[in-house]
């Protein structure tokens, strides 16, 4: 740690002139805090203020008290979007984290091609969600999609992937699983490298097989990292937007059921986007944004507790 030469080392207290001596340091960190104040702190406070108003962005703002929140509680569409978001999140996260753990332990066991596997598994994560949603739309297309062609070829009935309420959720969850499994696997893999080899050696001498070792040694020792991935996937999964928005379009004039037929793919953030930026209902949009924030916080804390308690046993 370095102190500017002129500031007496160890005196600790500096007067106003003393503080001015640190001007290069303050100047160096100021761009971030300036941008933060203008584009994050002020907007967050302003959106709280907006959620007590009625405003279309152009005319006069009207103070309406808690009316937006009261409306939200009784808004069936909001509850539908919450339900959709949670279902899609579960359908995505459970298989994703399971496969990620399996892939990570296989990666640890592999002796060759590790570098290649890592890069190949990571590529989905850096791919544009828009492009991949277009791809999923084509592959899961009801009539000509590759998936239905495959089902038909092996004599199974085809599925109306992009119009049935559950199938829509499966497609969105599959897309997210495809995009994030490799990322989580590589995080688990990095964590496994930190587990000392002697522990595995001891487990082997005790006669534990690979499956037993996996559940009794690897999973408990990875606890903090599993916690990290659950938190990250809660925060990102609860805010899914691009997948349904690109798959089903957002243009109200063309498609009043944004989120697909029956609004089965309408997530909370998509509903927020539609309210604020298609309908220009800024007051209600701000109220939805705060509700989303509270839901994400609540589920992050809940998942945190679930995962840490289960691991304690």
């Amino acid at each position: 740690m370095i102190r500017p030469r002129t500031a007496g080392a160890g005196t600790g207290r500096a007067g106003r002139r003393g503080v001015l001596r640190y001007w290069p340091q303050y100047l160096a960190i100021s761009p971030f805090y300036l941008l933060f104040t203008v584009f994050m702190l002020f907007p967050v406070l302003f959106s709280l203020y907006l959620s007590f108003q009625r405003w279309d962005g152009l005319g006069e703002m009207t103070f309406v008290g808690l009316q937006q929140y009261r409306f939200l509680i009784e808004d069936a569409t909001f509850w539908l979007s919450l339900r959709n978001t949670l279902l899609i999140w579960v359908m995505n996260t459970v298989p994703m984290l399971f496969f990620a753990l399996v892939l990570a332990s296989l990666l640890s066991a592999a002796k060759r091609f590790k570098g290649f596997y890592q890069v190949a598994l990571f590529i989905p994560n850096i791919t544009s969600v828009v492009a991949i949603a277009i791809f999923f739309g084509a592959v899961f297309s009801n009539q000509y999609g590759l998936v239905n062609l495959g089902l038909d070829a092996i004599g199974l009935p085809t599925v109306p992937w992009l119009s049935h309420p559950w199938a829509i959720k499966v497609v969105i969850a599959t897309l997210m699983t495809w995009q994030w499994t490799g990322y989580n696997a590589l995080i688990y893999y990095a964590g496994m490298q930190a587990i000392p080899g002697e522990i595995y050696e001891a487990a082997r001498l005790d006669g534990a097989g690979p499956v037993r070792t996996f559940f009794s040694v690897t999973v408990p020792l990875l606890r903090p990292i599993i916690l990290f991935t659950v938190v990250i996937s809660t925060i990102t999964g609860m805010q899914s937007f691009t997948e349904p928005q690109v798959l089903f379009g957002n243009n109200n004039a063309v498609n009043p059921n944004s989120g697909g037929p029956g609004q089965a793919g309408l997530t909370m953030v998509l509903y927020f986007y539609r309210t604020a930026f298609n309908n220009n209902d800024y007051g209600y949009g701000a109220a939805i944004a705060w509700a989303v924030f509270l839901v994400v916080m609540a589920f992050t804390i809940l998942n945190w507790r679930l995962v840490s308690r289960r691991a304690d046993k």
Binding site: I2, R3, I29, A120, I123, V130, I134, G182, I235, F277
Partner: protein, 273 residues
């Protein structure tokens, strides 16, 4: 038994790799054939010769070249600014003591928690007031410095830049900014490479904010232009996929060039924290 297990490991991993990469292969197959060939019974499974036709059809429908240029501009400008500003702040937090340092850094960590959609409406209002709606400035300026980059580079600088070197530079008469530019930046080049690729990818793929703030359909980024291709239940998949290919290929190319170090850096952060 052991050899069987060793083979099984590679079979399963190979399968996972196939699943990861299949969409790219199939995108190429669709983009290089006609829609009729792709949906024939049985369908084609190998790349064809119609790529140029399909690309031309896409470009006749939606202009992707101007958005491509816009995206390259936005991603490059954002990356350059983030590298300079984040590293400068990170260096300050890593190596200097000054009043308020702990509070400022704590505030920075708290910011990871603020969800994006809370600030979207007010940000749009601010951009309208500034007259930046529809301008690429609206994408670059708010993204010019970020908490993640400062945090990550601070960790990197603590490990990579010895205090003695800074002390020596100071005794030679170098000031704060001189030390940053001539001593710190050259040393932290590997860290800059990671943060640079990370920022470039994030800026390239960014979708929600450009969708909101770039209202003029003739002046958008690549992702927004691509999403417009999908509007209207278009069934010409070969043409759609030719568009998707334009959106994916440049980024995958950049990524595979630098991939090795990037993947381990990207995942190391999680276990360190």
């Amino acid at each position: 038994m052991t050899r069987f297990r060793g083979t099984l490991v590679h079979v399963v991993l190979g399968l996972a790799v196939l699943l990861s990469l299949f969409p790219f292969y199939w995108t190429v197959v669709m983009a290089t054939n006609t829609t009729r060939d792709v949906f024939a019974d049985p369908p084609t499974f190998i790349p064809g010769t119609h790529l140029i036709d399909n690309v031309n059809t896409v470009l006749a429908n939606v202009d992707l070249l101007a958005p491509l240029v816009n995206t390259i501009l936005v991603a490059s400008a954002t990356t350059a600014l983030v590298l300079f500003l984040d590293t400068l702040a990170a260096f300050t937090f890593a190596k200097y003591e000054f009043p308020g340092r702990r509070v400022m850094f704590g505030l920075l960590l708290g910011l990871f928690m603020v969800p994006a959609q809370l600030s979207l409406i007010p940000q749009f209002v601010i951009m309208s007031e500034l007259g930046w709606v529809g301008s690429l400035k609206a994408l670059v300026i708010p993204a010019a410095a970020n908490a993640f980059g400062i945090f990550w580079m601070r960790q990197y600088i603590i490990g990579a830049v010895p205090d003695e070197l800074l002390e020596a530079a100071r005794l030679d008469g170098a000031g704060f900014f001189r030390i940053y530019w001539s001593v710190v930046l050259p040393i932290v080049r590997p860290g800059l490479a990671f943060l640079g690729i990370y920022t470039f990818i994030a800026a390239w793929n960014d979708y929600v904010w450009p969708l909101i703030v770039l209202l003029d359909p003739n002046k958008v980024t690549l992702q927004v232009a691509l999403s417009q291709l999908n509007v209207g239940q278009r069934q010409d998949y070969s043409v759609l996929m030719a568009g998707a290919l334009i959106g994916i290929v440049p980024l995958i190319a950049v990524f595979t060039l630098f991939a090795r170090g990037f993947v381990s850096d990207a995942t190391k952060g999680a276990i360190r924290g």
